[in-house]
């Protein structure tokens, strides 16, 4: 953007854009973070390191802000979340370590690729799990199986393929630490696809995990001076307000349609990120 905004105008415009990002991120379970970095870099011309710092903060705001609403609904599975959190926090430390050594153009390209994957994932239909699945041995030992509320009362489910899910969660953690995102798409992939956890449960459990993973990276980023208060302020407040509104309307939302719409937006941003990264403009 070539228009020179003063501090007040910049703050208001960034806050409004962040509000929309937070609402869509909360509704789709992908997190506001996936669009904050492309939004700040491509639209507002912010250096990718400041953008990652602000995004990381907004990711925590999304997670903790929406958690209160989710916890009342009782969708999340705390055992699954906590067990997998070992993988994501170790991954986040690895990712934050990598971020210090990689050129910003490479980070932009990786970011674009992750965004493209997120866009693809958001269009996949994940509803309708096969009924009557057998219990998994590791999941049984770790007591990961649970139940969640549906229109017909509580419905129980079995958790599958724990090692695959754990491995994918490490990858999610690395991406979170490297890119300052919540890696909601990879977390939901691990829980939905690999571990066969029902969509509402994986989305809300992922929401909890995102905050913990982001907190693991945030301290490191703060010390590196990537978190600018003047930029993080409107991003955090905007995303938080958006996430709260999103969580309020989630139970009645047409999640599938929203995922497709959000997916298209993300894909467009992804291609632009990769393009700018390849040109070395990041």
């Amino acid at each position: 953007m070539n228009i020179q905004l003063n501090a007040l105008q910049f703050t208001l415009v960034v806050a409004l854009a962040s509000f929309l990002a937070g609402m869509l991120g909360s509704l789709t379970g992908l997190g506001g973070g996936v669009v904050i970095v492309p939004l700040l870099t491509l639209v507002f011309g912010v250096d990718i390191r400041y953008a990652i710092g602000a995004s990381l903060v907004s990711v925590i705001a999304t997670s903790s802000g929406a958690a209160a609403a989710y916890l009342r609904e009782g969708y999340s599975n705390m055992r699954v979340g906590m067990f997998l959190e070992i993988a994501t926090t170790v991954g986040a430390v690895s990712g934050a370590f990598l971020a210090a050594y990689l050129h910003t153009s490479i980070i932009a390209i990786v970011f674009g690729l992750v965004l493209l994957y997120s866009a693809y994932a958001s269009t996949q239909t994940l509803e309708g799990l096969p009924a009557g699945m057998a219990a998994d041995r590791i999941a049984t030992i770790l007591r990961l199986d649970g139940s969640y509320p549906t229109a017909d009362g509580f419905k129980s489910y079995h958790v599958r393929r724990v090692p695959l899910g754990f491995g994918l969660m490490y990858v999610a953690g690395v991406l979170s630490g490297l890119l300052g995102i919540g890696s909601g798409a990879v977390k939901v992939l691990a829980m939905d696809q690999a571990m066969k956890i029902p969509f509402k449960v994986s989305t809300t459990t992922s929401n909890f995990m995102i905050g913990v993973t982001a907190a693991a990276s945030a301290g490191i980023y703060l010390r590196r001076g990537y978190i600018d208060p003047g930029l993080a302020m409107p991003v955090m407040l905007g995303v938080l307000a958006g996430a709260l509104v999103g969580a309020k309307i989630l139970p009645g939302a047409k999640v599938r349609t929203l995922r497709i719409v959000f997916g298209v937006v993300i894909a467009a941003l992804a291609i632009e990120m990769i393009f700018q990264g390849v040109r070395g403009k990041m």
Binding site: L8, A214, I220
Partner: protein, 136 residues
């Protein structure tokens, strides 16, 4: 900490709905407090420098006093607007850490020692990343 009905291998447990509601409220208040501090700092920041040109195009990195925990607390105490915002962001970072801390207690109340250990491991990792010099 939802007790799975009909799930395999589940023993008798203390009802943990109370813990969940407490956690939810605690998180909400923590985030609200962080947001208020950030907002307050933001208003002061904009009142002081509303017409300042924004330049986030070039990366310079934050000055030392906005990077480490003791320095940020010091800046916030002195009511420097940017220090106050940064302090609010620290409070926000603390909310997931607090949730993990209380989850340790929650699993302890359920006498689920395996998950007490798992949760303590996560907590230790978090504390390490938040206190290690220059991260990692």
């Amino acid at each position: 900490m939802r007790v799975g009905k009909g799930g395999a291998g589940l023993g008798a447990r203390v009802d943990d709905k109370g813990v969940e509601i407490f956690l939810g409220k605690m998180l909400r208040w923590g985030v609200l407090l962080a947001a208020l501090v950030v907002f307050g700092g933001g208003v002061c920041f904009l009142a002081e420098s509303r017409d300042a040109a924004q330049n986030y195009r070039t990366f310079r990195g934050e000055p030392a006093e906005l990077r480490s925990l003791p320095d940020i607390v010091h800046q916030a105490m002195a009511l420097r607007p940017l220090g106050v915002i940064q302090f609010g962001l620290l409070l926000l970072i603390a909310t997931p850490v607090a949730r993990v801390l209380f989850s340790v207690l929650g699993f302890g109340l359920e006498r689920d020692w395996m998950y007490v250990v798992i949760t303590l491991l996560v907590l230790a990792l978090l504390i390490y990343t938040l206190t290690s010099r220059n991260g990692v």
